[in-house]
Amino acid sequence: MKFITIDKKNWAKGIEKSRETYRLFGPVKDKNGVFIRTLEKDMLPDMTINDSIMSVKSVLFPQTEKILFTTLDEAKEDHHIMKRVEFDSSPRAVVGIRPYDAKAIELVKMNFDTDDYRDPYWCDAYEATTFVGVGINKPGPFDFSTSAGTGPFSESGLDVLMADLDNAYLAKILTGKGEAFMKSCGFEKNTDEKESQALFDILRKEAEKNISSHIDTGKLKGKTVLELHEAPFWDDIAFACINCGTCTFVCPTCWCFDIQDETKQKSAGRFRNWDTCMSPLFTKHATGHNPRDSKTQRVRQRFMHKLKYFPDKYDKGIMCVGCGRCVKSCPVNIDIREVCKIMNSYEKNN
């Protein structure tokens, strides 16, 4: 494994240089909080913040994305024949993301890249993107990533993992993509592998020690879907919910979407927009029948998907990386950690 040190004095220049090859994305402070945005010229990723309101998922999966288009003008030869919107396959890099977000991308990949179908929009964007993460030295009080299969220095899904050492960044190159990005920045100062790894280990342990929030999912696997689904606690959990879907929009692992056509004069576009299982429209049949008509059913779907259906289906752990975003953003404070506790400790006959 290769390690590189980057003097923070050279950081801005290096990032600027990488623009010759890459389109950059990263955390940006805005009036309403921190977002992951395109870094326009001279903008640097904010490496200091602990997390962003919205996750990195939008870089590969924008909230609204035009996927197909055609003309409705019958005078044109190819009218009504849909075509893919041109895709910008030039390399992109997201710089400064948090390790749990990268892990989330690995989870979302299981949905968009399957043996049967490949979602070309998500997958092409994924392939074009280099993920440059930075470890979290001081995890916040809502970060429960270590008990959600990742952690403040987790490497899964990243091409480069950096550690913030006050005056410098120490970068661990994890993939060829990562190496190419560092090279494009002109960051090439190798350091000793053993020493660097030791430093990473210390930082990781220190950070993990600071994590004060945990969930226990150990007993979920042993329970049947129907046992949990029919459990009596869902009405109480769901009572406060206002079905806004914020929990799913801010979540880095939620992937649900809607497909909508729009027309402007003679041109037609097909768009996909984020959607959410918390909305009644999500499942409503044309007949008016709705299999998840009540908010209890919808709230249950969200938690069952994350903590039961997904783990059962893929055997890759829960569909939550413990970022704590939904915990903080939910207007009525429905907390996945509490729900997980209730589900995990539920025994049918008492």
Binding site: M82, R118, R270
Partner: protein, 281 residues
């Protein structure tokens, strides 16, 4: 792999009014590019997304049969935005078809078995596809007895009437056509609801008999006990679900029942499978 969201362009080749109240029409489509027809190779029981640019897409069961070549057919009930638009389209119009999607009736498992097909109302589309497939000379010997119970409100509401009456005349398929009621004195078939006709006419189950049911929820609800009374086990009852769908390829997330995605892992399930999942359909 190809872009699974990109529909194959098709031309509307024919439109037939399917029921007397004109709420259903059967659309026959021809692929603009003949090679697309090969790519769209399907099995009876699958569905497709009918794609009208600028309007939207809808999942519709494939009513034509794999043994019918040169076209694909769908029978569509007019209800909302896309279906209404489709009903107003004309022969010659260009649109798209995406698919085939989903699984199909378990034709391998049904070989050398008695098959009972039970349909109600306009949920007879993939059942038509199945019957045509089984009756095809190349396939008929693969199956033992074939029984069909099909009911609608009135004679004029039965889909594919000409074909039904043709099948009725054959001796390699037992038809039990029924209507809820009719004033037509010449009506020679059953009168009564589907569950009742099933109870009276469907064969008793042995381990080599399977039932396929498609129909409105209320019909399914009352037909199940009738089948159980006839000795059908959960794994011998095969059903096709209709959940709201968008992508049809297991990605948009809305059609799930438990961990199963109806669009990709279904729409065809046995009652045994369904009884293990939440009843969110």
């Amino acid at each position: 792999m190809e872009n699974p969201y990109l529909p194959y362009p098709v031309r509307i080749d024919n439109i037939e009014i399917a029921t007397e109240d004109k709420s259903l029409k059967t659309f026959k489509f021809v692929f603009l590019n003949p090679e697309d027809e090969k790519k769209f190779s399907y099995q009876a029981g699958q569905f497709a997304e009918l794609s009208i640019p600028g309007v939207g897409e809808i999942p519709i069961g494939i009513a034509s049969s794999p043994v019918e070549k040169g076209f694909v057919k769908f029978t569509v009930f007019r209800t909302g935005v896309v279906t209404s638009h489709l009903h107003n389209m004309k022969i010659g119009d260009i649109m798209g078809i995406r698919g085939p999607l989903g699984n199909w009736y378990p034709w391998d498992k049904l070989e050398n078995k008695n098959v009972v097909i039970i349909g109600g109302g306009f949920a007879f589309t993939t059942l038509r596809s199945s019957i045509i497939y089984m009756l095809d000379p190349a396939n008929r010997k693969k199956f033992k007895n074939i029984d069909v119970v099909y009911g609608a409100r009135s004679p004029g509401m039965l889909l594919y009437r000409e074909e039904l009456y043709e099948w009725e005349k054959r001796d390699d398929i037992n038809m039990h056509i029924t209507v809820d009621g009719t004033n037509d004195p010449t009506w020679k078939y059953h009168k009564g609801f589907v569950p009742q006709i099933v109870e009276q006419n469907a064969p008793k189950a042995d381990e080599n008999t399977y039932a396929i049911i498609c129909g409105p929820p209320i019909m399914i609800k009352f037909t199940q006990p009738a089948l159980v009374a006839l000795g059908y086990k959960e794994h011998q009852i095969i059903m096709s679900l209709e959940n709201r769908m968008k992508c049809g390829i297991g990605m948009c997330g809305r059609c799930n029942i438990g961990k199963e995605l109806v669009c990709k892992d279904g729409p065809v399930f046995t009652l045994e499978q369904l009884n293990k999942t939440p009843k969110e359909y």
